[in-house]
């Protein structure tokens, strides 16, 4: 089956003083949850802002929903209407009340459902055990609750693509689990609904991630469906005396008094033939850390 894409991009470039985002080709698969992974400063937020239309000063071409170009995002209302975006904790003005957020959403977004927003606020326990409080100010909410409020606001709209910048970071483990459930429900709520989120909490988000894009220093260094990545890489464990023999083959390696554990490309496994090693399927977290370590400036 041919894979279709909700956003496709070519030659996306954005230069800052000490950093350049340079992505020759970008494809966001339609109908899946895609995680954007990378260390701090890798360019994740810049990329998300470009895709959402929050940053317009870049080079390159984008194609949204198979028919709109990057120029249409600021000239055709439908493009931004179909994209839901949640940002960091500065997303709302601190002095806004929850009621104001609902009022503004109803004005600036065509398909905002106030009753759904209210229900989501209750479901996510934004006001704790208390009832919906439209007078509650944003600055009175914790970082986690602000994120919940952003989720309620964006999920109360009818969209086809959710783009979320670090939604899991300020959330507690229970809420991260709920976030995964919400993402899954969103994807299952209609045909071709897609989610794209950046995250540092790879383990917590792994069970909802279908596709992963790993960035380092402004470039995409690895991407693919999680199942494919898990076949591409393999975890290798072995004895201490074999450390020097495996080192050239492994992406990353951690050592203990008893042995080593590392990750390598599955296709290189035959280079370790004859050694007393154990292999296992890596988690997305292990793959991501290995790929990031290989490309990172951190020594």
């Amino acid at each position: 089956m041919d894979q279709s894409y909700v956003i496709e991009g070519q030659n996306i470039k954005k230069s800052f003083k000490n950093f350049t985002l340079d992505i020759p080709e970008f494809k966001l698969p339609k109908g899946f949850a895609t995680a954007l992974i990378g260390e701090n400063g890798a360019g994740k937020t810049t990329l998300l802002n470009i895709l959402t239309g929050l940053r317009l000063d870049y080079e390159g071409n984008l194609r949204y929903f198979d028919k709109f170009t990057e120029k249409d995002i600021d000239s055709i209302p439908e493009v931004k209407e179909r994209i839901g975006y949640t940002g960091t904790d500065t997303y709302y003005l601190p002095n806004w009340t929850v009621g104001q957020i609902a009022d503004i959403s109803a004005i600036v977004f065509d398909k905002f459902d106030y009753d759904k927003f209210k229900k989501l606020c209750d479901d996510l326990a934004i006001f704790g055990p208390a009832d919906f409080d439209k007078h509650k100010k944003v600055h009175a909410l914790s970082d986690g609750t602000k994120t919940k409020l952003m989720l309620a606001g964006v999920l109360a709209r009818e969209t086809d693509l959710l783009i979320m910048d670090e939604p899991a970071s300020p959330l507690d483990p229970l809420m991260r689990d709920k976030l995964c459930e919400l993402i899954r429900d969103y994807i299952n709520s209609g045909e071709n609904k897609s989610v794209f989120f950046s995250t540092h909490n790879i383990s917590d988000m792994e069970n909802v991630t279908d596709y992963a894009i790993i960035m380092e220093q402004g470039k995409i260094v690895e991407q693919g469906f999680v199942e494919d990545l898990k076949e591409k890489y393999i975890v290798v464990k072995g004895e201490k005396e074999d450390i020097e023999k495996v080192r050239p083959v492994l992406y990353t390696m951690s050592q203990s008094n008893y042995g080593f554990e590392g990750i390598c490309l599955a296709e290189n496994l035959d280079k370790l033939a004859g050694l007393d090693i154990v292999t296992e399927t890596p988690s997305l977290f292990k793959i991501s850390v290995a790929v990031m370590k290989k490309n990172s400036l951190i020594k």
């Binding site: 940053r55 209302p77 931004k80 940002g87 500065t90 997303y91 104001q100």
Partner: protein, 221 residues
């Protein structure tokens, strides 16, 4: 029912405080004119912009700051820019209207307590000078306070500076004021037209600055 952008963007307390401040100034202006005279009105006129700019902090602080990131919510909407433009424009009109209404207090005192038509005319002429000066200093200070996301302490300092500018302008004007203003009606009217024109130009600059700050968020800053 959908609210207007201004009603949605600003909080109820923000709008109520505008009314309270305006009514307060109206009453204070009335009493000042009755019990103290024009000097009392000068002092009040200087304090009025201070209160309006201080209040502005709670809805539009840093609105035209190029580092303003808190607008991502409305920036992610196609209608966001139009919404923001409408809210800023309405707020400027309302502030201008509040200043005019507030200044009518001492004119009313003149109308009730001083039946002399020449004195009433002089009160009108005072209004024609104090009102645009208040508006001008308010708009100048708003350019500063909306450009930078200030801390509360710095904001209060800016309001204080705004008040000082207003006082200086009004005191200078008081010294220049002829003894019988009604003899110089044409000059006073010309002064009003000039100051009010400058005030409106500054208001347009302020509006454009806010929009520039909003759209600058879409690009490198």
């Amino acid at each position: 029912m959908k609210k207007t952008p201004y009603l949605a963007f600003t909080s109820l307390s923000y709008r109520i405080l505008h009314i309270v401040i305006t009514l307060g100034f109206f009453v204070a202006g009335f009493l000042a004119n009755v019990y103290i005279g024009p000097i009392g009105v000068v002092i009040l006129s200087a304090g009025y912009p201070l209160l309006l700019v201080f209040l502005d902090y709670f809805a539009f602080s840093g609105a035209s700051s190029r580092k303003q990131k808190s607008m991502h919510f409305i920036k992610s909407s196609y209608k966001g820019l139009g919404f923001f433009k409408s809210a800023v424009k309405t707020d400027l009109w309302i502030k201008h209207g509040c200043i005019l209404l507030g200044h009518l207090g001492y004119v009313l005192a003149e109308l009730i307590y001083y039946t002399d038509s020449e004195e009433f005319l002089e009160a009108i002429l005072l209004l024609l000078i104090f009102f645009p000066i208040s508006g001008l200093t308010t708009n100048i200070t708003l350019i500063i306070s909306r450009r930078i996301a200030l801390t509360m302490i710095v904001h209060v300092t800016v309001c204080y500076i705004c008040s000082m500018i207003s006082t200086v302008l009004l005191v200078i004007y008081s010294f220049l004021m002829p003894e019988h203003m009604s003899d110089h009606t044409a000059v006073m009217l010309a002064a009003f037209v000039i100051i009010e024109t400058i005030s409106i130009i500054v208001a347009v600059i302020l509006y454009k600055d806010c929009i520039k700050g909003y759209t600058a968020g879409f690009s490198d800053t």
